[in-house]
Amino acid sequence: MNAVELIEARKSYMLGETRVEALRGVSLRIEKGEFLAIAGPSGAGKSTILNLIGCIDTPTEGRVLIDGTEVEHLSDTELTRYRRRKLGFIFQSFNLIPVLNVYENIEFPLLLQNHLSRQEREKTVMHFIEEVGLADRLKNKPNELSGGQRQRVAIARALVTRPLIVLADEPTANLDSETGHRIVDLMRAINEQEKTTFIFSTHDEHIMEHARRIISLRDGLVTGDKAKG
């Protein structure tokens, strides 16, 4: 089964008095376990596709299926629960909760799910903290971490619920190139190890090299879909 399927998905919105066509009929399929980049210049529709796949926005027209479920008609609460169960997010600006430390930020999605015991939570959190190499930074608050470290925390937080798909919106945009590469390498390693589907948007050519499949967008339309190896 596909992890994601978009069928003629369109998204438009009003910007002041101007109607912006962010997506103009995008159809694509993403299989489970893929490590996929959505590439394109600013305004191409990369973030809009991620928002639709991430169930934080709905299409104006067309269908969005996540793990076989049509999500465009789900209520706000149903979408929230769906996100909680199936999706992980990595944001461009890291979006860590500033008052929680590294451990607590990573634990946060598990607390929202509320189905693991404290011991199970601790085991899971520690597993991913070690995965991202931050075992010595457990008690640090986000403002005590470097950009790369923050993004590692965000990666661990996105993975901790073992989601079907991890969505990363320009995950390296706020990092220097070396750190950016290390972050993408880390995501790739986890993808191979955990078999988690990774979908990330980028316009950085060097980052794209790491992807196994690249979907190119321009002006709200898919202009290329290239798989490697």
Partner: protein, 469 residues
């Protein structure tokens, strides 16, 4: 748990803002608790003072009266209550009744001599049974003479005036009276005639409480009063049989009246059996109860007995005095309400600023799967975590302030004290109610003030985590 953790740390992250709100909440709570304690204590003290000093728990008066009893109704005395002794006996039979004291209010003139000329001095008074009145009301502290001789010595008839009244006589008429002095009391009776009574000034007093009223009120014993106002009649049981028959006949038809002309007994009316009887002239009966809470029950019993009486509770019979503490309470509630309204607005605006600053954070929580109820709980927790501790701190401060006043009570400006509680310091009474009410109000205001900000917060889309479009 994570909700509380985030809420608490978010508050600590914005310490100065939280502190400003907390201080405002604490100020409001302090005003609420201390204000309520003050007004409750004033209310209780006012009630006790009024009951103890001039009304008792209730005042009974004639059902013919159009006015309610008042400590100031000297120019328009209430109608006389007939059969006072029957009523007294009835009341004393009631288990709830502790004491019964009939009295009347009226005015007269005192005639005194100054430089060989007669000077007439205005004189308003309570006509009382001295012993009974003294038993219930302890508002009089003697300065000269004694209280009609009821506390040792032989009971005496006469008048008693306040020292202040005497000073006013001196100031306005150049006359100073002294205990033991003979005076003439002049009264205008209902029939329009002027009566004069030679009497004695048995003493001078100073009122202990409600000086602003009782400085102007004097006392006359009931027997002197009855003589002064012609409250004297013929005892019904002393009327000759023939006269009784005649009176009965006069109520019938004309024939019966003409028949009287042929009645020899009626023609030979023997007046030797007639006996005079002093009528009371009482216009009010103060009733003191063993339990203040039994007022309604006693009023119901009196009404059911058909004694021709109406009843005024102590607060109705106190003139405006009982309304002062109610008015003060209303003022404090209004002032506190306004303060809480301002606090609520400031609090609401601060929360909205917080929410705007935390849009991305809220969006992230929503994106990660936090439901609207989680966001709602988070902001509610922040509100309560901030407001309740500050409110509790203010309560503790209020408690300490109340305890600090101690047994001596809270000193008040004399004029305010006189009107509010009859005079003297106000003993603050600790009660749980003001504290519980304040806590309830703080929680309610906090929740209400958080409703709109919560609506704003839960309206934030998870898209906000990605950056606003």
């Amino acid at each position: 748990m994570v909700t509380l953790k985030i809420a608490l740390r978010s508050l600590l992250r914005r310490k100065s803002r939280a502190l400003t709100i907390g201080v405002l909440v604490a100020f409001g709570t302090l005003l609420l608790v201390f204000g309520q304690t003050f007004t409750r204590s004033a209310g209780i003290a006012s009630r006790e003072s009024i009951i103890d000093n001039f009304t008792g728990d209730l005042i009974l008066y004639s059902e013919r009266s159009k006015e309610k009893p008042s400590p100031f109704a000297f120019n328009t005395p209430l109608p006389v209550i007939p059969e006072v002794e029957t009523i007294r006996a009835f009341l004393q039979e009631l288990p709830q009744v502790e004491a019964v004291v009939p009295f009347a209010q009226n005015y007269a003139l005192l005639q005194a001599q100054k430089d060989g000329q007669a000077v007439e001095l205005p004189f308003i008074f309570y006509a009382i049974e001295p012993a009974g009145y003294r038993d219930i009301f302890r508002n009089v502290e003697m300065r000269q003479g004694d209280f009609f001789g009821v506390e040792g010595g032989a009971p005496r008839q006469g008048i008693l005036i306040s020292e202040y009244q005497n000073q006013q006589y001196q100031k306005n008429y150049g006359v100073t009276l002294a205990a033991g002095q003979q005076v003439t009391v002049l009264s205008l009776t209902e029939g329009g005639s002027v009566n004069a009574l030679r009497s004695e000034l048995v003493g001078l007093f100073e009122p202990r409480y409600f000086k602003n009223v009782f400085n102007y009120i004097n006392f006359v014993d009931m027997e002197s009063y009855a003589s002064l106002y012609n409250f004297t009649g013929v005892a019904a049981d002393s009327l000759p049989e023939s006269l009784t028959r005649g009176l009965e006949a006069s109520a019938g038809d004309e024939e019966a009246i003409f028949d009287l002309a042929e009645d020899e007994d009626f023609g030979r009316l023997d007046l030797s059996s007639l006996r005079s009887e002093t009528l009371s002239g009482y216009t009010m009966i103060a009733v003191r109860l063993a339990d203040h809470g039994a007022v309604d029950e006693v009023i119901a019993r009196v009404t059911a007995a058909g004694l021709g009486l109406k009843a005024a509770r102590w607060d109705e019979a106190s003139g405006f005095f009982a309304r002062i503490s109610s008015g003060l309470q209303a003022f404090i509630i209004l002032a506190t309400g306004l303060i809480f309204l301002i606090v609520a607005f400031i609090f609401m605006n601060t929360l909205i600023i917080n929410i705007v600053e935390r849009t991305s954070e809220i969006g992230t929580m929503r994106a990660l799967g936090g439901e609207k109820r989680f966001i709602r709980g988070l902001f509610l927790a922040e509100t309560l975590l901030l407001n309740i501790p500050f409110s509790l701190a203010a309560m503790l401060l209020s408690l300490l302030a109340v305890l600090a006043t101690g047994a001596g009570g809270l000193p008040l400006p004399e004029t305010i004290s006189q009107y509010l509680i009859g005079g003297g310091p106000l003993a603050l009474r600790l009660a749980a109610a003001p504290f519980l009410e304040a806590l309830g109000i703080v929680i309610a205001v906090s929740i209400v003030a958080t409703l709109y900000p919560i609506r704003v917060a839960t309206g934030i889309s998870p898209l906000a985590a990605m950056g606003e479009r």
